[in-house]
């Protein structure tokens, strides 16, 4: 379960980070594949988490907590150069951080992560 949590956090937050940081040569920003991954990766992580629960209530709660922790991690990673003071940032940077680090991930997280968890937990009855 710890491994699942770590991997889920990592998969969801790296997807958000790669979408937000479009200066990276390996960015997923601005492509159809990028949009697809942005929706698919959180759904997939939610689904794998959902397999570990018998009770849908706990699966939903856990998926939402992990989703929001991933948003926090993404927000932190986006701001890391500013926090560490390696670059000289102007106030406009925070608008970018809020958009790519919070608003966009928020809507994707509340839509896709619980959806994945619910799909998975509903298949558990077939075991």
């Amino acid at each position: 379960m710890i491994v699942k949590t770590i991997f889920s956090l990592s998969i969801i937050s790296i997807t958000f980070v790669l979408y937000g940081l479009h200066e990276m040569p390996w960015t997923i920003w601005g492509s159809a594949t990028g949009m697809f991954l942005l929706l698919l990766a959180p759904f997939f992580s939610g689904m794998i988490m959902g397999y570990s629960f018998e009770n849908p209530k706990w699966a939903l709660a856990y998926a939402i907590i992990i989703g929001f922790t991933a948003i926090g991690l993404n927000f932190l990673l986006f701001m890391l150069p500013q926090i560490m003071g390696v670059g000289d940032y102007h106030p406009g940077f925070m608008a970018d951080v809020w958009w790519y680090g919070y608003v966009l991930p928020f809507f994707i997280t509340i839509s896709c992560v619980p959806a994945g968890a619910m799909v998975a937990v509903s298949t558990n009855v077939y075991d």
């Binding site: 491994v3 699942k4 770590i6 991997f7 889920s8 990592s10 998969i11 937050s13 790296i14 997807t15 980070v17 790669l18 940081l21 479009h22 200066e23 990276m24 040569p25 390996w26 960015t27 920003w29 990766a41 997939f44 992580s45 689904m47 794998i48 397999y51 990673l77 890391l80 150069p81 560490m84 390696v86 670059g87 000289d88 940032y89 102007h90 106030p91 406009g92 940077f93 970018d96 298949t123 077939y126 075991d127």
Partner: protein, 161 residues
């Protein structure tokens, strides 16, 4: 395929994707911090230098492999004293920018940097030896990220007098 088998396959995929995402996360953050700290991914190479009266003219090639436009807004050259590169202004806001030279994404640009050498000892040294130890610290502005960073260049270069 039975549900149990499908779950197993999905778990294996999850394991692989999870490991890959951790590795990509490490590389991405290292690159992002490195970009912010110096140069924003720019590759800077020296081409030539010459002396025009008491102005030292340095020609550089810049390669911007990233996906964001970068602007060269100023900087300074250290010889026996520090010379500011003129016509440069630090933009406080994107609308007030006055770049020395834009360095567009995915492009190679050659930039001529003109520096007035006011110290006669430095000028005489360049004229007699035909070379100069340059220690250049250039200021970059990344409009999309609203941030400034530096790129430095140190070398001994030949100067056509």
């Amino acid at each position: 395929m039975k549900i149990r088998g499908m779950k197993q396959v999905l778990h294996w995929i999850f394991l692989v994707v999870g490991v890959v995402s951790l590795i990509v996360m490490g590389i991405t953050m290292d690159t992002y911090l490195g970009y912010a700290e110096e140069g924003y991914g720019l590759d800077m190479s020296f081409d030539s230098a010459y002396l025009n009266d008491d102005w030292l003219v340095l020609k550089f090639y810049f390669e911007n492999p990233g996906s964001l436009d970068i602007e060269l807004v100023g900087g300074n050259l250290t010889l026996s004293e520090v010379y500011e590169i003129p016509e440069a202004e630090l933009p406080n806001h994107i609308a007030q920018e006055r770049p020395l030279s834009p360095l567009p994404a995915h492009e190679n640009v050659s930039v001529m940097i003109w520096i007035p050498i006011t110290n006669s000892a430095d000028l005489d040294s360049i004229r007699t030896t035909g070379q100069v130890d340059i220690d250049l610290d250039l200021l970059l502005f990344v409009p999309t990220r609203y941030m400034n960073t530096h790129i430095t260049f140190q070398a001994t270069v030949e100067v056509s007098v």
